[in-house]
Symmetry: C2
Amino acid sequence: MVDKNTKAWSGCPVRFGMSQFGDKWSFLIIRDLMFKGRKYYHEFIEAGEGISTNVLATRLADLESNGIINKSRDPVKGSRFIYTLTQKGIELMPMMLAMMDWAEKFDAETEVPQEFIKKLRSDPNKLQQEILKNLPK
Amino acid sequence: MVDKNTKAWSGCPVRFGMSQFGDKWSFLIIRDLMFKGRKYYHEFIEAGEGISTNVLATRLADLESNGIINKSRDPVKGSRFIYTLTQKGIELMPMMLAMMDWAEKFDAETEVPQEFIKKLRSDPNKLQQEILKNLPK
DNA sequence: TCATTTAACTTGTTATTTACAAGTAAAACT
DNA sequence: AGTTTTACTTGTAAATAACAAGTTAAATGA
């Protein structure tokens, strides 16, 4: 794949994004954390997309080492970990929302609640604040 | 990879996006078309990212079949083709700009001209119109 | 007009990554 | 203390990407 360590791999924001989260599974994990309230390993597995366990493990590790997500032991149930978005991860929200807006427009099958889309198009900042409020800290 | 033909693969806007352009190379091709003025096969190859010829060919074909780009013979020089963004492709601009905004914020190496970033943060719609004006039709 | 060049691929092979299946380890529950 | 839960790791087969070389169709130059 792309070698992000070469000199040529620096400077461009799109390349940077791709090197940090530019993979289908990373996007879906971020979506789960941002919009679906998922936070445990098993929840990502059971999300039904069909990610395999080894790929999930490496993606979570990559996202963590890139500072996009945070991993901590569940204080309630110590056999599991809680994954949350860092500030850096949270700030991917405008990009994710722009993508959702686009998809809703061009994909007949996409089923975003009308209320969500309406808010997104009329007052995106307000929508973002609402989503943010519901994110686990 | 993800089977976008299963029932489970429909409904979600993020999954839809990933199935249509969710791959590093697709992003970079879209970036080239949207911001770098590239439009020929050889320009994508020579962009210096290191994409291989077979991968470029399949990505261009996929993007075309997904209606994101358009392929037509160059009227001036019939031995080559011109690739351009369709309306559907152009409307990925807000997402791309959101990504660039994010990258500029979190990557010290990212070198987006200050003027660009300033415009992006103060009046993104105006910036978009300017970029749009410069896109080949 | 016919050989050469240019541009866009295609094909073949190797290397890397992913998918799938099964096993392991650490903590919690009983 | 033994079973269960959760989060992985490991091994192998299949798919994809990288790399190198070859092919085709149009343009260009002699």
